[in-house]
């Protein structure tokens, strides 16, 4: 596993924010970027079109400093959501230590969510990774929209969370649930690290 390098005493977690177009992946990263002290974060790289759609991917490196004697870094990526950027998505997914699936809570987006989820599964398979072994957290974004437009977290759990992975309700624009999600996925990744290093 590339997560821990004992020789150089480095831990690097690559976390990929996945999900359909306009579900709020980049918004998550923007919110995190705004909360990380300047000395801890690298430059956020974001390639977007004029209408702010992610063209390639967003990348935000965060330096957590020395933890247990290990220089610890988190690298947060987003993938472009639009269907036709699948090659990029597959590329970004390579070597991921954890995935956050950002679902759009709007009822009319349910099919897009499902399609993206299936796309995640197949892209992981392309890398020879079974989605069941990959640390995964669900984030139900846009929960701040009017009730009549969105599905509740429970409904979304029923519709999307087949494997009962940790799920978080969020309003990424205002930050609610953003760090909780990040924390949730980090825990899963670190648990896997513990399992990996004792194996």
């Amino acid at each position: 596993m590339s997560l821990v390098n004992f020789t150089t005493r480095e831990i690097t977690c690559k976390i990929v924010y996945y999900g359909p177009g306009r579900s709020g992946k980049t918004t998550n990263l923007h919110y995190v970027y705004g909360r990380v002290p300047e000395v801890r974060r690298g430059r956020m790289v974001s390639l977007a079109t004029q209408t702010d759609r992610t063209l390639f991917f967003d990348f935000l490196p965060i330096d957590l400093g020395q933890i247990s004697g290990f220089a610890t870094r988190f690298q947060l990526y987003t993938v472009p959501g639009q269907v036709y950027y699948n090659a990029t998505r597959r590329l970004v997914l390579q070597g991921a230590d954890g995935v956050v699936f950002v679902a759009d809570s709007q009822a009319r987006q349910l099919d897009e969510n499902l399609e993206s989820l299936q796309n995640l599964q197949s892209n992981l398979l392309e890398h020879g990774v079974d989605v069941r072994t990959m640390p995964l957290a669900m984030q139900y974004n846009k929960q701040d929209l009017p009730r009549e437009l969105i599905l509740s977290p429970a409904d979304l759990d029923d519709a999307l969370n087949f494997r009962s992975v940790p799920s978080f309700a969020a309003d990424a624009l205002h930050g609610t649930g953003v760090f909780e999600t990040l924390k949730g996925i980090s825990e899963l990744v670190l648990k896997r690290l513990a399992a990996g290093s004792t194996a």
Binding site: G65, G69, P153, D171, S186, T198
Partner: protein, 650 residues
């Protein structure tokens, strides 16, 4: 009046982390070289991060390295109080004198200078005086100099003129290290994860951290039950991990409050603490600590590369023991021979054996004394009737060192080649297996002894020379009036003579006529052979010139050699500038080196040729190349007064 340094506050008990590494390094440097490195050193940080500890550690380390230093630690308040008391008693001048005599002044909490104009000017005067005298000042404050309210501009610039460093709040890693060390000091043992939990709580301040630890220690002692991480959290009132479960309603537009990143960092820290096996964390922490102190950690890194090494703690313990040993050796070596300390092998536990060997060498003075200069070989030494006695004596000495002429004293005026011959003998003697040839100027010998006396390591200095198989001193007359050096040389002389080790000296005149030397030295110098080098004869000069002008394939012009060898010079050395002038003239005019050219350069051209140039001159012919040597000024005929006036008027 001043507070005694608390022995508990030393560098050994100071836990170094990323946030305080710079300050500690600066502190150590200052303690090792008071007044020389950063003066003043100004350390600032929030309360409870170790300013006082660092200040006292500097004091103690400086005292340990140089016990004779006058070191004062006091808080600004104490200083103010003492000043007022002194003024009230009419002892202001005595007070000032007392502080101006301090070698290392450590003042804590100078932020209280704010709005105290009188004290500011007093401290300004004191810092000026101490700095001028090369004495060290270290100050601490809870804020940088520029932020102390109403602080005199001159004080700000003076405080900032040395080094201003801050100590940040300890990171998680350092907090764990501090907690472990303090728990160890209190002989308290905690279940795995407890100290990590406390450290994960992001205390900004070491005192609060200590308070938390003390609570746990007390609780565990009273209840006789082992605390686990959860109990510790509860006991210390740390927040339970906040999570937003998926089912919870999200209030519209409500932004989360507080330091989300800090909380996230703390959570990841705890998570990682659990994920990274405890032994790995311990090894990694040890690496960080010792790396930070400049030690090589290869052995510990090798542990990390293993899957499940056995006896990790023993390995770390053994490593730390080796480091402690290295520290001791380095300190010892630094006292005996400052030049030998600071070697990288004292920072590499893998080379402990080498470090031990080096220290043993230094202890016995094995650092070799200065040797002969390689520039003076015997083959390049020009020989002629004027020095053949000395040279043949030298050859005898080289063939049978210590047996035939001991000591050999080479006597002659300056520039006759005494130093060359001395070094040539040294070089030849040094060829022998196991030879330790000490060859140096008497002045260097005196300077070394002074430094040894100054550094309180005369025994080491003596040992260094006593193991020499030959001692060669240039210009022995410089011993005049140096009683202590004469005493040392007398003892060394006897010792080396007894062991049949060769002694060679040079002097401008026979030992018996040298002034300022003790009788016992003079008689001993005269006890071997005093070989005189006289003014160079023609053969010697020709030989010297031949060597100097030798070029591969083209032997020098015989007429030129004859001409130059006939020049009246009183030493070989004074032949060198003559030769240089001719050679550079030949190069400048791009003509071959010939006797004619040499004559032209050294004696000037016939008068008629000069006159044809239409110049009015004084008649004093100076070399066309500058490099005027009065000896080479030739007066062809006495100039008339008018000529001289014009020349001088120009």
């Amino acid at each position: 009046m001043t507070t005694a340094l608390n022995v508990k506050y030393s560098f050994d008990t100071f836990v170094v982390g990323a946030a305080n590494r710079l300050a500690v390094t600066a502190g150590r440097t200052v303690a090792e070289n008071p007044g020389a490195a950063y003066n003043p050193l100004f350390v600032y940080s929030c309360s409870g991060l170790g300013k006082t500890h660092l200040l006292m550690a500097i004091g103690q380390a400086a005292k340990k390295l140089a016990p004779g230093l006058n070191i004062e630690y006091l808080t600004l308040d104490e200083y103010v109080e003492a000043f007022h008391a002194a003024i009230a008693a009419g002892q202001g001048d005595a007070f000032r004198r007392r502080f101006q005599g301090v070698d290392v002044l450590l003042v804590d909490d100078v932020q209280f200078l704010a709005k105290r104009k009188e004290m500011q000017s007093e401290l300004l005067r004191l810092t000026e005086a101490l700095q001028v005298a090369g004495h060290q000042i270290v100050l601490t404050s809870d804020r940088p100099p520029g932020e102390i309210a109403d602080l005199d501009e001159r004080l700000i610039s003076r405080f900032s003129g040395g080094l201003v460093v801050d100590i940040g709040p300890p990171d998680y890693e350092t907090r764990v290290a501090i907690l472990r060390r303090k728990a160890e000091e209190r002989a308290a043992r905690f279940a795995p994860g407890v100290l990590e939990t406390v450290a994960g709580a992001a205390f900004d301040n070491v005192r609060e951290l200590m308070g938390a630890l003390n609570r746990l220690v007390a609780y565990q002692a009273v209840n006789e039950t082992e605390i686990n991480a959860a109990t510790a959290k509860q006991l210390l009132g740390l927040k339970a991990e906040a999570a937003v479960p998926a089912g919870a309603a999200v209030s519209r537009g409500a932004a989360p409050a507080g330091d989300e990143f800090g909380q996230f960092l703390a959570d990841v820290t705890v998570g990682l603490g659990k994920a990274v096996e405890a032994w790995r964390a311990r090894v990694a922490e040890a690496i960080l600590r010792w790396e930070g102190e400049g030690y090589r950690t290869r052995r510990l890194e090798a542990l990390l590369e293993q899957e499940a090494p056995t006896a990790v703690d023993d390995a770390i313990g053994a490593y730390e023991k080796d480091v402690e040993r290295l520290k001791m050796l380095e300190t010892e070596v630094a006292q005996l021979d400052p030049q030998a300390s600071g070697q990288s092998l004292f920072r590499d536990p893998e080379r402990l054996a080498d470090a031990e060997a080096t220290a043993a060498q230094v202890r016995t003075g094995a650092a070799p004394p200065p040797g002969p200069s390689a520039a003076f070989s015997l083959t390049s030494y020009a020989v002629g009737p004027s020095n053949d006695v000395a040279v043949s004596a030298a050859r005898d000495v080289i063939a049978r060192p210590g047996k035939k002429y001991n000591p050999l004293v080479l006597v002659g005026k300056s520039g006759l080649g005494k130093t060359h011959l001395l070094n040539a003998i040294g070089l030849e003697l040094a060829r022998a297996k196991g030879a330790v040839v000490a060859s140096l100027s008497t002045q260097a010998f005196i300077d070394e002894l002074i430094a040894a006396i100054d550094g309180d390591r005369v025994d080491w200095w003596r040992a260094r020379y006593r193991r020499a198989t030959a001692l060669l001193l240039d210009d022995i007359h410089l011993l005049a009036g140096k009683d202590r050096t004469q005493e040392e040389l007398f003892n060394l002389f006897n010792l080396l003579l007894d062991k049949e080790r060769q002694l060679v000296f040079t002097a401008p005149a026979a030992p018996s006529v040298l002034e300022g030397l003790e009788e016992r030295i003079v008689t001993r110098l005269g006890g071997g052979l005093v070989a005189e080098l006289s003014e160079p004869d023609r053969d010697l000069k020709r030989h010297f010139l031949e060597q100097a002008l030798a070029q591969p394939g083209t032997p020098p012009d015989a007429a030129l050699l004859d001409y130059l060898a006939d020049r009246p010079v009183d030493s070989v050395r004074s032949l060198v500038p003559v030769l240089q002038r001719v050679v550079s003239a030949a190069a400048a005019q791009d003509v071959p080196l010939t006797a004619g050219l040499a004559r032209e350069v050294l004696e000037g051209q016939p008068r008629e040729a000069r006159r044809s140039g239409g110049l009015r001159t004084s008649g004093i012919v100076v070399s066309s190349l500058g490099g005027v040597k009065s000896r080479e000024k030739m007066v062809w005929d006495w100039p008339d007064v008018a000529d001289r006036l014009i020349e001088e008027y120009r």
